[in-house]
């Protein structure tokens, strides 16, 4: 093989860096959505690669549902500080208090309420672009989304009216009040993300690795025991050796039983996996079009 050859990960990396720089150059007020999860950890590394030795020229934004794993928020704050970035956190709780987000009677999940909270934050800071870590291999509505995904002034995605995206020429033009969601990891798979974490030697929150935890059996999954939705007497509770494969809210993220202690272990586990990453996310199982419906309303 010629020395002028990029392997798979190097190719994905240069594609993503190019996109990061296009955003910095074409938008006035971009932001990077950073949760502390594995995909957004890669995003921040790509931002470093795109902009160093300068500072990363955009703040980080996170919507805190109030149901996050504590380990995740801790990691988020530490990583943002390490990178010298400005981290903006907007809380669903505050959005509920101010009437921006209105829960349905008895609605415990904060999943839907993230949407108005995020859109309010975008409006508050007049962000014209939000970079997110979504990948096309995650879900079939996402499989249809462009790198540069246009949102109208209501924050909505119109899947039938997407701009053609040709070569590496991204059309970032928006009118005032509209914004763009940009997904530099579109072409990355779960495997690529972990291979990149290994290659770049990136730290990730501890919950990705095997640990002991009290879990409760619900809808065919082991969910963490929390005070938010305490186990009922009829429910089975067990202490298990588990880890998370994908991180959502603590009340809906299925834990998988796993002895994987290192990134290498995780890579072996994924290679042998027989279910997809989002198979452990109850929020996606609501219906065949669950993700599409949320995206149309302005979800990540």
């Amino acid at each position: 093989m010629s020395i002028y050859h990029l392997d798979h990960l190097q190719y994905l990396e240069t594609e993503s860096i190019h996109i990061m720089r296009e955003v910095a150059a074409e938008f006035e007020r971009p932001t990077i959505l950073f949760s502390g999860g594995k995909d957004s950890i890669c995003l921040l590394r790509l931002a470093e690669k795109a902009f160093r030795p300068s500072e990363i020229p955009m703040p980080f934004l996170n919507v805190d549902t109030g149901h996050h794993f504590p380990e995740l928020n801790e990691f988020r704050d530490v990583r943002a500080a390490e990178l010298g970035g400005r981290l903006i956190v907007r809380k669903v709780e505050d959005a509920i208090a101010s009437g921006i987000a209105v829960p349905n009677p008895g609605e415990v999940s904060r999943n839907r309420l993230q949407i108005p909270t995020l859109l309010a934050a975008i409006e508050e800071f007049r962000f014209d672009c939000a970079i997110g870590g979504a990948r096309r291999d995650e879900e079939k509505a996402r499989a249809k989304e462009r790198f540069f995904s246009f949102r109208d002034s209501f924050g909505q995605w119109d899947p039938k009216n997407q701009r053609p995206e040709i070569w590496n020429l991204y059309n970032g033009r928006v009118n005032s009040g509209e914004h763009m969601r940009v997904f530099p990891l579109s072409n990355w798979t779960e495997m690529d993300v972990w291979e990149y974490i290994r290659r770049e030697n990136l730290a990730v929150p501890t919950i990705y690795f095997s640990h002991k935890r009290l879990c409760v059996r619900r809808q065919g999954q082991w969910l963490p025991v929390t005070s938010l939705v305490p186990p009922k007497p009829s429910e089975e509770v067990r202490e298990l050796v588990v880890r998370v494969r994908t991180i959502g809210d603590i009340i809906s993220t299925g834990m998988i039983e796993s002895p994987a202690n290192t990134v290498d272990d995780i890579l072996i586990e994924i290679a042998a996996a027989r279910v997809t990453e989002r198979g452990s996310r109850a929020d996606d199982k609501a219906s065949e079009a669950a993700m599409e419906d949320r995206k149309k309303q302005g979800y990540f």
Partner: protein, 439 residues
């Protein structure tokens, strides 16, 4: 070291195209299913939807038809991307719709492909859509083409029918510019010759589709001849207190062609100023040389005026620099293209204003003849136009370099991407004013 992933695997990007009901989505479903790239929860979801809409039969197309309207209408609306890997290669599939009004999506899916699969329904043979898609693949200069003659089970696995379709294709291929074409008889629905060889085609000695995808030689799709570096972003750390960085001035971008080495003389266009490369900076340390399509930051020996939209070039081959351009376009909007219309034109890293000065011709897909001087180009039309831009472009012929030879047209107001353009070779070599003026 774990054995979970080999150190280097290469990547093949391909797209599938055909018309409605040729079975593209079924073919992709079959590739994923038979190569064991589908997971249990995806199969479960398939089985659930089979009970609802498929009369109990698993519908492989439901794997890729991700939007509700698509599943309801049984058509594919938008480009869907799929990812799978075999021990030999990683693959990115763009499933591009065949519905006639969605040809723009075919251009989207095919523009980054190494290989294109055109599906043909063995019962129908070559139809206008097959010609259109083959023609687009040729115009986009996709190096490899596979003609998947599908639904062979419905023509009784007739060798004669297969050769008839092949002959039909070969009748117009010489008028196009595709070097490598492979014909494969198959049934995506039943899985014949997709991943596993079929027992129905003893007369076919070639590889299965997956065998071909794993083995086809893709070499380097990137241009490594003339150095081209469109400036994306000027990298100036704003750290006045920090002595290490306070003089740092870099220009960041992705190499769009060629190779660059430290100490090499380069020219900045359109100004024509010459300087040398002092350092190739990356976060992982400096490089001695870099090549297309790496993303890097260049430090130049002189503090010359460089900004986004400029292009740094090597001196071995000169690009065109002009604001009068000739190009072939694929029109993608329902509002037609007419002479005199103004658009934004995005080319490499700059967006300029452009006016269409004339429409030279419109390509007739059925006979590949050019209709001279049409009044307009309507949606899905291909044709040649002339343009004038508000600033000169630094460009190469699309046939020489896909990245410096392509542009998109954006409609002011709606901001829709309405056209994809491929530039013709420059009519004269550049004569920058300062060619002999080194700073």
């Amino acid at each position: 070291m774990s054995s979970s992933s080999p150190l280097t695997v290469d990547l093949l990007r391909f797209n599938t195209c055909g018309s409605v009901d040729d079975g593209k989505s079924t073919l992709i479903g079959r590739l994923l299913y038979d190569s064991k790239s589908l997971m249990e929860d995806q199969l479960e979801a398939l089985e659930r939807s089979a009970d609802l809409t498929g009369g109990g039969q698993i519908n492989l197309a439901n794997l890729t038809d991700g939007l509700r309207a698509e599943r309801e209408q049984g058509i594919t609306i938008d480009v869907a991307y799929r990812y799978f890997a075999t021990p030999r290669r990683k693959f990115i599939i763009a499933d591009t719709p065949g519905h006639v009004q969605y040809t723009r999506n075919m251009v989207t899916g095919a523009s980054t492909a190494n290989l294109s699969i055109v599906l043909v329904d063995a019962r129908l043979g070559v139809i206008e859509q097959s010609r259109r898609h083959t023609c687009i693949a040729s115009l986009l200069r996709i190096p490899h083409l596979v003609v998947a003659v599908n639904k062979m089970d419905l023509v009784g696995w007739s060798e004669e029918r297969f050769h008839e379709i092949r002959a039909n294709f070969e009748g117009f291929l010489p008028r196009l510019d595709i070097k490598d074409v492979k014909f494969i008889p198959m049934s995506a629905l039943n899985g014949d010759n997709v991943v596993d060889p079929s027992s129905h085609t003893p007369w076919y000695a070639g590889p299965t589709l997956l065998g071909h995808l794993e083995g086809v030689h893709i070499g380097s799709d990137w241009n490594l001849d003339g150095f081209r570096f469109p400036v994306q972003w000027v990298n100036r750390p704003n750290r006045p207190q920090d002595t290490q960085w306070h003089d740092f001035r870099g220009i960041s971008g992705q190499i769009a062609g060629g190779i660059i080495r430290v100490g090499q003389t380069v020219m900045i266009l359109p100004s024509g100023l010459k300087t040398t490369v002092q350092e190739i900076w990356t976060m992982d340390g400096p490089l001695e040389q870099a090549f297309c399509p790496q993303s890097i930051t260049l430090r130049l020996a002189h503090d010359v005026d460089v900004s986004r939209g400029d292009t740094v070039i090597g001196l071995s081959s000169m690009p065109g620099v002009s604001s009068e351009l000739r190009a072939r376009v694929c029109w993608m909007n329902t509002r037609p293209l007419q002479a005199g219309r103004k658009y934004f034109l995005k080319h490499t890293t700059q967006t300029v204003q452009a006016v269409v000065t004339s429409i030279e011709n419109r390509l007739n897909i059925s006979d590949f003849e050019a209709e001279i001087g049409p009044r307009e180009l309507t949606v899905n039309d291909l044709g040649e136009i002339r343009l004038r831009t508000s600033r000169p472009l630094v460009f190469d012929a699309y046939s020489v370099n896909r990245l410096t030879g392509s542009f998109i047209l954006i409609e002011p107001g709606s901001n829709q991407t309405v056209g994809a353009g491929m530039l013709f070779p420059p009519t004269e070599a550049i004569k920058p004013e300062y060619t002999d003026f080194a700073i």
